[in-house]
């Protein structure tokens, strides 16, 4: 039932418009090994729940990806996978580098020392370019609360940059946030795939 052709068109357009952002979000949360899985699962959920997807779809999709990450991958795994990703992005400098480059590398390395929640907010705002209102939708808090959290995350990032050792070496495993620093509100309302929920009837068509 419903307009099937337009369902597929709408979904494909949404995929084309948002896929790389969802992937980038997942990579910056938990590295590429996890990201492909998360993207696949996120869009499978989006297809099943297509009629619920708002426009613009991105904050909703990122919210799904967030839940998929949280439910499917343990915090230590996310942290280790992200640390590996970071070593790709910010290898140990091998000689003199320009100051702005050094500054960027320092910020990247400092990111690894932040609690996961801080890092998420910073990624949503600085890398995904979301407005506070949109980022708030993703993490499931109010826009006002998000501004406060962003402010604090930014402050902790500055401190983390300042706390980097003088040689700014980013080798080794970056210090991660303590395990289990999950905040209230982390539990989104979205459900994971495969949970039987007794809807009836999606007519299987071969």
């Amino acid at each position: 039932m419903g307009d099937e052709a337009s369902d597929e068109e709408r979904f494909t357009a949404m995929y084309d418009g948002c896929r790389q952002r969802v992937w980038a979000y997942a990579v910056s949360r938990a590295g590429r090994h996890v990201a492909d899985d998360v993207v696949s699962e996120t869009f499978a959920v989006a297809w099943r729940r297509l009629r619920e997807v708002p426009d613009p779809a991105l904050p909703w999709l990122l919210g799904v990806a967030r839940n998929v990450l949280r439910d499917g991958h343990r915090a230590e795994v996310r942290r280790e996978s992200f640390a590996a990703e970071l070593r790709r992005w910010a290898p140990r400098p091998t000689g003199d580098i320009a100051e702005d480059v050094a500054e960027r590398l320092a910020v990247l390395r400092a990111m690894a020392a932040l609690p996961e929640d801080d890092r998420e907010i910073l990624v949503l705002v600085a890398w995904q370019g979301l407005a506070p209102r949109e980022a708030a939708r993703v993490v499931g808090c109010s826009a006002a609360a998000l501004r406060v959290r962003l402010h604090r995350a930014r402050r902790r990032l500055v401190r983390a940059v300042e706390a980097l050792p003088p040689d700014a070496s980013g080798t080794g495993t970056p210090a991660g946030p303590p395990a289990g620093t999950r905040r209230p509100g982390d539990g989104g309302a979205l459900r994971r795939a495969g949970r039987p929920q007794m809807g009836i009837i999606s007519e299987e068509r071969s």
Partner: protein, 387 residues
């Protein structure tokens, strides 16, 4: 560091640029996987549980001893062959079957408790093997759910993949000739919403299955919106469900209110409303904890629909015999027959099945090919749910 956020923006790795092109192969695979199952047609509707995990957790790596399913013609068997009726001469008309079921349902009593516990085994059927030696594999999964009677509680579900196996004796013989593989590389047809032919409108999604059962997984989740438990054209609460009327005309009106957003006065309801009522009602009688007299009302309502017909006594995937009623649906992939098997001794719905009544040209599957079935093995109210 004057503006750490700006530096962070500039530090974003180039590969995370949203404008980076999507690899075409990745795009194709991800789109096909996502669209492997039909989308939910209702808004804000809880996830459908009708088919097992075709869409989830597909392993990317190919297995050893894998067989590739293709769409070549010459299917080896007709799975309907397994459904030899115990008394093939008896074909009750739909009305007789349904009214008898209603009588039985009316006679039932129930004592509600904290959770509605339901156990079902769902089966999906796929062809596999090389051309000329093809056979059908059935992939089964057991699903248990505990749905809370009160809002705010969590719903609990438990699932276990039961393993794949040849569907019928003839399939088993073909499977043995193929060396009795324990791993199958199945390709699941994916419905393209745009196309109209097999080649243009259907893609195949890889799915691996093994003969070994999987682990039992239990999970719990809050109810949708805190109180929605089922979908009946819209999401409904347990209270809504328990308040449904038992009178068939009133029940029909109540259900039609949620049909495509139209009310019963709307002229556009006529087209396909029987189909829709059948689908809603089969969910109602196979899945939901409605009052026994409402289940009776649902059977009586179905008895009043012209497009519902009796197809005789058949066995469900668990081997249980019952009287079946069915409606046909024309789709892009052919004519599908949706059938409901009812136990005449109790009036309980045993199974809900989808059969490919008339495949489209180019489909290797024969007419009568069972696509999917769900057999309800237990429903009961229970005071507790697992954690």
């Amino acid at each position: 560091m004057s503006d750490v956020l700006r530096t962070l923006r500039e530090a974003r790795p180039a590969e995370l640029d949203p404008a980076a092109p999507i690899d075409e192969g990745v795009r194709r695979t991800e789109l096909a996987r996502a669209m492997a199952t039909p989308p939910a047609s209702g808004s804000a509707r809880p996830r459908s549980r009708r088919l097992p995990m075709w869409g989830a957790g597909l392993a990317g790596a190919a297995a050893a001893a894998a067989l590739v399913v293709t769409n070549l013609p010459h299917g080896a068997t007709t799975p309907d062959a397994r459904r030899q009726a115990p008394s093939p001469t008896r074909t009750l008309d739909a009305r007789t079957v349904l009214l008898a079921a209603a009588e039985k349902a009316d006679g039932q009593t129930e004592a509600t408790a904290a959770y509605w516990h339901r156990t079902a085994v769902s089966s999906g059927y796929f062809q596999t093997g090389p051309a000329g030696a093809r056979y059908t594999v059935v992939v089964r999964q057991k699903d248990e759910t505990w749905t809370p009677a009160k809002p705010g509680a969590k719903a609990v579900s438990r699932q276990q993949k039961l393993g794949a196996r040849p569907a019928a004796p003839a399939d088993e013989a073909a499977w043995r000739r193929a060396g009795s593989p324990t791993t199958f590389k199945l390709e699941v047809p994916v419905i393209s919403r745009a196309g109209g032919t097999l080649n243009g409108g259907r893609a195949l999604k890889p799915m691996e299955a093994t003969t070994a059962p999987g682990p039992v997984r239990t999970s719990s989740s809050p109810l949708v919106d805190g109180d929605k438990v089922f979908w009946l054209g819209r999401n409904v609460t347990m209270k809504d469900l328990r308040a449904l009327p038992s009178d068939p005309a009133k029940l029909k009106a109540a259900l039609l209110r949620w049909y495509g957003g139209h009310d019963t006065e709307s002229t556009s309801v006529a087209m396909g409303s029987d189909q829709w009522l059948f689908q809603v009602a089969r969910g109602l009688v196979t899945t939901m904890p409605v009052r026994p007299e409402v289940r009776a009302g649902a059977f009586r309502m179905l008895a009043g629909l012209d497009s519902v017909r009796g197809i005789g006594r058949i066995r469900d995937a668990q081997g249980r015999a019952g009287d079946a009623i069915a409606v046909n649906e024309k789709t892009r992939v052919g004519v599908l027959r949706h059938q409901l098997i009812i136990d005449p001794s109790t009036g309980d719905a045993l199974a809900d099945e989808t059969v490919l009544a008339k495949p489209i040209t180019g489909d290797a599957r024969p007419p009568g090919f069972m696509i999917a079935s769900e057999a309800v093995t237990a429903t009961e109210w229970t005071p507790t749910a697992p954690h």
